[in-house]
Symmetry: C3
Subunit: 344 residues, 3 copies
Amino acid sequence: MQQVRTLKELAEFVGGKVSGDGSVKISNAATLSQAVKGDITFLANKKYENQLLTTSASAVVVDREVESCTNLIISDDPYFAFREIVVLLHGHRKHKKTGISPKASVAETASIGKGCDIHDFATVYDGAKIGNNCVLYPGAFVGENTTIGDNCILYPNAVVFDNCVIGNRVIIQANASVGEDGFGFATHKGQHHKIPQIGRVILEDDVEIGASSGIERGTLDDTIIGKGTKVGDMVAIGHGTKIGAGCLIVPLVGIAGSVTVGNYCIFGGQSGIVGHIKIGNMVRIGAKAGVINDVADGKEMLGVPAIDSNKARRAYALIETLPEMYKRIKDLEKKLKKATDKTS
Amino acid sequence: MQQVRTLKELAEFVGGKVSGDGSVKISNAATLSQAVKGDITFLANKKYENQLLTTSASAVVVDREVESCTNLIISDDPYFAFREIVVLLHGHRKHKKTGISPKASVAETASIGKGCDIHDFATVYDGAKIGNNCVLYPGAFVGENTTIGDNCILYPNAVVFDNCVIGNRVIIQANASVGEDGFGFATHKGQHHKIPQIGRVILEDDVEIGASSGIERGTLDDTIIGKGTKVGDMVAIGHGTKIGAGCLIVPLVGIAGSVTVGNYCIFGGQSGIVGHIKIGNMVRIGAKAGVINDVADGKEMLGVPAIDSNKARRAYALIETLPEMYKRIKDLEKKLKKATDKTS
Amino acid sequence: MQQVRTLKELAEFVGGKVSGDGSVKISNAATLSQAVKGDITFLANKKYENQLLTTSASAVVVDREVESCTNLIISDDPYFAFREIVVLLHGHRKHKKTGISPKASVAETASIGKGCDIHDFATVYDGAKIGNNCVLYPGAFVGENTTIGDNCILYPNAVVFDNCVIGNRVIIQANASVGEDGFGFATHKGQHHKIPQIGRVILEDDVEIGASSGIERGTLDDTIIGKGTKVGDMVAIGHGTKIGAGCLIVPLVGIAGSVTVGNYCIFGGQSGIVGHIKIGNMVRIGAKAGVINDVADGKEMLGVPAIDSNKARRAYALIETLPEMYKRIKDLEKKLKKATDKTS
């Protein structure tokens, strides 16, 4: 299944330059520490740079001529060039070809595009429309009147509820839920009454939703995740929240309801955003941060409650000095008292 | 499917008072910012009140006569009144009628009440009892000897393990697990040995469990979630924990094992509670708080470790001043030294 | 189904000593507070010790002769002894015997060992190898070419992706995902491009993965969870991370990618570990801690960012004094100014 290419061929493929022997044969991509003969690798993190002097890899993709014991491909965007090489050598996952399995459950009024694989035990309910070349793994569920575009993948037990709209090339990982009811209750005389959640979830093109994540449908208006935004595992997105394009939201993040997030924002692990606020474009939220106010474009936020990350790094690093600070204040008080007693 | 009513009819239905034109026709519920002609809306948050002057909505539900460019329903409990109107106009989700599907897996010794829909690929194991009018979506699983009351909904891939007891009108969202083994191991000579988890999970009437949440069964005694408590997505409840009635537990909360929680408590997002403690009634735990001690009735807690929330708000807001405080202490020390050197 | 034994028989079974009446009959294990006649219990937490004077239990397992109103088994390792008794009296969960159900989906080229129960709606794909005596509950999924050892249990809707390697006696809880794509994207001209995730997940013998957890497969090298490590519910493990043997990782923990964790580490609830760092052996990470640097063997870490836990306990306890500290600094400044004004 794996392809073999010369280093020269790979360099041409990614528009890079060979430094060293372009004729070496490459058949596999590996990490810098594990790469052996026949492997190509890249420098993931500056702190591993000295490994370039001892690596057994046949080639490394880098961003400039560097000291190394092996051959290099020099590329302006080495990580993306490496990614292109991994795709060439290994390809993406090949999905089992099942066609529309007779052991799937497809409603008569559902419409399924060309080239789809609807696996055993997958379900597509009434009025749902699936585009071309989609894959629904076992246990995947598509509810009534939901629309799914072309080239989408629903991994095992991924659930998309009714009346949602999923774009093209969307990937929904195993056990994720899209369009479950939002956490919306009206409390009256001590009882919490469910408000029908009549909004939808809209996932635009190229969105990916991680394993066991939950994207609540809106109470009244839609929950929207913008084009190309990637959501990690166990992420909770609240009802009616609108997330822009190209965001990266890593595992265990929680974004409450009615939040607006701009484009190209990054959310660190276990960060949380309260409801009804506005996050600008290109915002970076640090791991574990707790954001409780609007955030302007381009800001980087950290801490609980979140503040500017530069301020936060200095401030939070001082928490461990609190016992010392406390003592120094007490000492100062004593000394000052002594001094003033003396002078009075 | 949607109903049309006059504003007067809606006001009568919810016991409210019309201010303006009672004859306008209402067919849809919408958010304040998105509402158009024919829509009714409500004021979710005071900060949006100025939108009442410009909204295109045909009516707004409010709690008192307010300045507005449109018609009003005035109600003592506007949020609940609005909810009643949403139910009237839109209704709750209609579930596909399948009866007991021949493609479901129902054990011979299981008992299924009247009017149930057991969808394709749902499983009910031996000795399980399902009440009347329940819906089990595809992939839902009910283990041996578990009892489920009337009018319950198990959404796709919801799992209820063996020997659990589920009340009436309970909703278990997609991919949630109820009754999996607790995290209970006895470590002996460096090995962690599983303790059979012989307790059950009891979900009382009107409980809702969110998508991808996990409610561990008890090691010896039962894990209990009280009447009307609503649990959000990706919430972890530990073995043997007892939660009272009417609590609201939002996404990504973790409550460890053997905790006792009173009635009508609210847990903010990503908050956590250590094991073996007691939380009183009407307690509010702030988002991201970490509670490590018992909490008395009516308290509001915030921070890690959690303290009284008023104290916490003042204290945590000062974290960002730590570099300045540190510097001021140093300055004081210098100045005091200089002053005392001079006077000595 | 429950067994009945005399206390003497139980003491002999666990190598303990009876204090009191060895002839009492024991048929059930229970918690100290709920135990009644016929029950055996144990002391889970010192703070409950006074309950030994009033318990209705027929026996308690303890680690030394203590004052009590009932019979005792004295054991060097009372928790493990109690666990052995629970196993004897109650046994582990009995799984429904289904053989390879004709309603399961097993690929022709998959191999299934002896004594397996592959339930309705479980799926085993091409080239997968399942060992002996495994149980795959409904909705469980095993991808292409994945290998599973002997005596494993995949609970309902547990998903193991393609090309993974699962050891013996591994338990994967309901709705968990093992081997989903890591969060690996190369961003190029504002687009996030998926990097084929060609690494695998390896779960060594006796690993348990909690409900709704997600174990990402490696981008290039494997994600590995070592022998006997137990992972709780909704835990996220990043791509390429290697976790040693005998660790305990409780619910809602997030460990990012390319992390190395030693043996016998304990991760408290909602703790998080950034990528590309190294955690030693026997490390304890406190609940909610955020670890951003390497941690040496045997350390206990707490706080965000995490520091030595003794330091952290003292320091974080002082956060609530910040308003007071702030005021005292201001007072000092005033008094010092007054004093120096006077003396100058």
